[in-house]
């Protein structure tokens, strides 16, 4: 009897995890795609140096961070996957959503401060284990640049040899 209750509980959790997880994921992807178009004017690159090295730039750190949890279903499937090996598909969508969301938050931070260009974008990730379900944190950071065209403030970025 106790076994049946345990089995019932497990199946319930699995079904709830599957449906709730699917709905959450679908909505998250829709929101991500919509905002990616909205933030298309904020450029973000992995390059280390400003593309325009002539204009003086104001530079500052921008970042976006997100913590996202797996659901019961994803964790269960991933647990079984650990036995056989192969692509952990259920976690791939989780990680992809987290990275894209972190990038969007980084762009939001940049736009909030008036920047339209972020260079040297990097990602960090942390696993937050909470019992049976895994959570991950993805942290995106980069250097936002704002070209400074005010001639009064302008000065050569490197010493110029006297003519």
């Amino acid at each position: 009897m106790l076994d049946l209750i345990e089995l019932g509980l497990f199946v319930t959790l699995l079904v709830v995890g599957f449906f709730a997880g699917s709905i959450v994921e679908k909505r998250h992807y829709a929101s991500i795609r919509k905002r990616e178009r909205e933030y298309a004017d904020v450029l973000a690159y992995a390059v280390r140096f400003p593309p325009d090295r002539v204009t003086r730039q104001r530079a500052f750190l921008v970042h976006g961070t997100v913590v996202i949890s797996s659901d019961y279903f994803k964790t269960f499937v991933a647990g079984l996957r650990n036995l056989f090996g192969g692509r952990v598909r259920t976690y791939e969508t989780l990680m992809e959503r987290a990275r894209r969301e972190a990038m969007l938050r980084l762009k939001h931070d940049a736009r909030r401060q008036g920047a339209k260009l972020v260079i040297c974008v990097r990602f960090e990730t942390t696993t937050i284990s909470t019992g049976w379900a895994a959570s991950i944190e993805v942290f995106a950071f980069g250097t936002a640049l704002i070209p400074d065209h005010d001639p009064a403030l302008s000065f050569p970025s490197r010493p110029v040899a006297a003519a």
Binding site: Y72, K74, F84
Partner: protein, 290 residues
């Protein structure tokens, strides 16, 4: 350098495949692997146990606290003596391992049960003895437990338990605290129970042979299973296979049926007069302690 901003590509880093498909494959594969492993190990343990000389089992049993202890009161000791007498008579019909020394214990507890365990020990509970109406029914229980000893089921169960415990702990620790480990462990346990049911059937069969040889009929078996069906819980037994799967003993109805089949196959009578219970055991029926 010309900089552009493009939307992230879709479908490269994740797949659209329905995760239920993956789940189905993984569950099927996982269960098949666990069943196969547990089944193989169980079979190996069951095959090996009766081949290990009995003296090793006796040595192991000697290191454990004895199950068949002597009761601390006069009535208990009288009951134990009568049980021992019945056991010794039946054992003569059963070709037990020659070095096995039978020790029959009695416990003054309301539990309706009896069990056989390592080192030739059988333990009876008062709850069961007060429900039996003839020596024949008691002899059926006794020969059933002696059959477990004959086939060395206790050491088979022990070896199997240890081996499977190792397998399941490896699976569980491999999967950490995840639910997948629990599910696979439960599946492994279900396989274990099905082996126990086979052992019970074997024990019933050997018990019927001994009963027939000693008493000339197998009425005791019929009486016993009739009593078992009147027990609380006996009535609730349904004949669905799902219920049977989670039980360690075959359902009483299927045991009754196999007794009838055995009787007709072996030309054994079931309606001969029964022998009365020995006096000390019979006197327990007056005691109605909880």
């Amino acid at each position: 350098m010309k900089l552009e901003n493009r939307l992230p590509a879709e479908g490269i880093n994740s797949s659209d495949e329905n995760p239920l498909k993956e789940l189905a494959w993984l569950v099927a594969g996982g269960l098949a692997a666990v069943f196969l492993l547990v089944f193989t190990v169980s079979l190996a343990a069951q095959w090996l146990a009766p081949r290990i000389p009995y003296k090793y089992e006796a040595k192991l049993a000697a290191t454990l606290p004895p199950f068949a202890t002597t009761p601390d009161n006069e009535v208990g000791r009288a009951v134990q003596k009568e049980l021992q007498g019945i056991a010794d008579r039946l054992a003569a019909q059963m070709q037990l391992p020659s070095e096995m020394v039978l020790r029959i214990g009695y416990r003054d507890e309301a539990t309706v049960n009896a069990f056989a365990t390592l080192g030739g020990q059988v333990v009876f509970f008062r709850g069961l003895l007060t429900r039996l109406e003839s020596e024949d029914a008691l002899a059926m229980v006794m020969s059933h437990e002696l059959a477990h000893l004959k086939y060395r089921h206790a050491s088979a169960a022990l070896g199997r338990g240890v081996a499977i415990g190792v397998i399941l702990s490896v699976i569980s620790s491999d999967l950490g605290s995840s639910a997948a480990g629990n599910v696979l462990s439960t599946a492994g346990l279900a396989t274990l129970l099905s082996f126990n049911r086979d052992q019970e059937r074997d024990a019933d069969d050997a018990a019927l042979h001994a009963l027939h040889a000693e008493y000339g009929h197998i009425g005791g078996a019929v009486d016993l299973f009739n009593v078992m069906q009147t027990l609380p819980g006996g009535k609730r037994e349904s004949s669905s296979a799902a219920v049977e799967l989670l039980r360690t003993h075959p359902l009483t109805q299927s045991r009754v049926n196999s007794v009838a089949i055995w009787a007709s196959n072996n030309g054994a009578a079931t309606d001969w007069p029964r022998r009365p219970l020995p006096p000390a055991i019979a006197s327990l029926r007056g005691v109605n302690k909880p």
